[in-house]
Symmetry: C2
């Protein structure tokens, strides 16, 4: 696995059970996954030579993030390495314009969108807004995450401000959504596919803070449609491994927002709440093993992210949360606390949404801020 963040770290938990020997490529030996994986290699994922040395001897290569240059992935495949997802699939999670072109081509529901040229950006975007309405959403075509690289612009002057970022941009119509959903599917090289239940994701400042599984009150037909769209995207794009499809639920139906091709924050609930965690599923998919059951182990599962607060010493609050709720599941990423940084997550399971959600929220808020909710 190229990259040694928390996704690789949690993948190790499943690799241990499956008897899979997991190797990671880390930038530094103190990264999240490097702390818990014996076969950690140090190197730069932007350097093909480092990637080649890392890949040597591996049965399959996969990724903890989407930042490996597409041409390096092609080079590894040309060397004969089994790379999952492959470059032709992964580019759709790396390049939002390529993704929109492709999804539009086979009718997956997308907002109106257009590329923005560097030179006459404000005029182009204003013309787009004249057709589709203000506000518009400017997005960095490559490299954005957790709300970075996304600008909701209400006026031409806000567009001009966003264009100062200097990176290639695209524009999308703003989608007046009711809520955000996510569908996590897996697809193996053999073509086997599986979908987890559709979840609701709750964002604050562009960062996912809470995931509700299954999405409360979602019409079963709309849930099935969301799963069908996600599996179709996985099939059309030739995804191997996990695919997370973030969607907007609108009064007019579902609209695809973003894609990720790796274990995803919206699937962390599966560690404690599904019979097959997304990390196990990803390993099974990229190793072309039969996929595991995505069924839930409880009627309601809520995951809440732990975003670092001002106090770096969590220990007393860690004890409190365990004492307060013996059923809460804690997941720490081995990262130093910094304000706003994802340092872990908590999961609660049960029968009643309000109760389970309150438990997860109490644990997350108290752990990170010392405040009660």
């Amino acid at each position: 696995m190229v990259g040694a963040g928390q996704l690789a770290r949690m993948t190790q938990q499943s690799a241990i059970a499956l008897g899979v020997e997991l190797r990671v490529l880390a930038n530094t030996p103190d990264e999240s996954a490097a702390r818990v994986i014996v076969d950690t290699r140090l190197g730069d994922y932007r350097e093909l030579a480092d990637l080649r040395e890392f890949a040597s001897g591996c049965h399959a290569i996969t990724f903890d993030h989407e930042h490996v240059p597409t041409e390096h992935i092609r080079a590894l495949a040309a060397d004969g390495f089994a790379v999952h997802p492959g470059a032709d699939a992964l580019v759709h999670a790396q390049d939002k314009a390529v993704m929109r072109e492709r999804l539009t081509s086979f009718g997956a529901p997308c907002p109106a969108w257009a590329r923005v040229s560097d030179i006459s950006g404000v005029e182009e975007v204003s013309a787009f807004a004249a057709e589709h309405g203000w506000p518009v959403v400017l997005k960095a075509i490559r490299g954005g995450y957790d709300g970075r690289g996304v600008w909701v612009c209400r006026t031409p002057s806000e567009v001009a401000e966003a264009l100062k970022s200097g990176v290639p941009l695209m524009v999308e119509a703003f989608v007046p959504f009711e809520r955000e959903l996510a569908v996590l599917v897996a697809r193996s090289p053999h073509g086997q596919g599986v979908s987890y239940p559709v979840v609701e994701t709750v964002q604050q400042d562009g960062i996912c803070v809470e995931v509700l599984a299954p999405a409360p009150g979602l019409d079963p037909e709309e849930a099935a449609e969301a799963q069908r769209v996600a599996l179709q995207i996985a099939h059309e794009l030739g995804v191997t491994g996990l695919l997370a499809v973030e969607m907007f639920q609108t009064s007019g139906g579902l609209v695809v927002n973003e894609l990720a091709m790796r274990p995803h924050n919206s699937g962390h609930w599966t560690i404690d709440g599904s019979r097959t965690s997304q990390f196990e599923q990803h390993l099974r998919a990229v190793l072309d093993l039969p996929l595991g059951s995505p069924s839930m182990s409880a009627p309601v599962v809520v995951m809440a992210n732990l975003l670092g607060g001002d106090d770096p010493d969590l220990f007393k609050r860690y004890e409190h949360v365990m004492a307060h709720d013996p059923g809460i599941k804690l997941h720490f990423y081995g990262k130093e606390v910094r304000p706003g940084r994802k340092i872990g997550h908590v999961t609660a399971v049960g029968d009643d949404l309000d109760t389970v959600r309150a438990r997860a929220r109490h644990a997350a808020v108290y752990l990170t801020t010392g405040e009660y909710t």
Copy 2:
């Protein structure tokens, strides 16, 4: 954790989530846990100097096995290390005669028993049998496991044969049991205690092959009594960490058979079948953290051990089992296959005992022998 077998390996899965930095003392770098734990130290657990060097800097010391000499554990505690379980507790899992003396002293249900002197062993045992009946069970006072160090003797000549082992022995009345049960409890240094549901263990040739959780058809009052006895033993012995109490169910009630003070084979089902795995629970207990919920995540959970067969290459059968049953959970210990060796386990969960048991058994038998059940 002293020792780097599969128990330490599976403890690492929970340590990753809790953010606990797990260090192990291994004999060789290719042991089960050494393959998945970055902070692996090599050394000999029988050497106090190695133990002291290993322990330096650890917040707590615990064990993957019961073979560390009691006097070394006392020495580590005298050095100021937090050792859990402590020597005064652990000796009851190391020395079966000390265990029987102590349990008898506070009325825990035990079979009739006596120490056997080396010199006149056959006569002593025959006299014991004259009082309590044949057969009798001879046991090595220290060091036995998985049926080794236990001899069921029907005649004085079988006793003479067992005495040739040359190790200090004790004799116990043979208990005509209906089935074997196990109760896993945890106790923290604070004195908090928790009990998992009582399970049935199924043995073949002295080795546990299957665990049924909860013990099918067990009378709720007898289950509560078993849990009460196990918690009482943990309290009386001052256990810190996990305590597994193996019991015989007889027409006359429960009889304690063996004790273990560490994660135990009879608790492997908890990884997939309880909200808190025994490995997480052990870490919480030895670190004096509040204990986790022992509740089950499904009505029925069956664990079956994978005992190595003649064919060391499991891969095709591994694929088959995953394809056959997407809900089966596989756990491999990173060990080479040798006939009879515990190389992993499988777990099935569900609603119906017969179905769940058949699923676990199919997976275990097919994986290890290629035969269908």
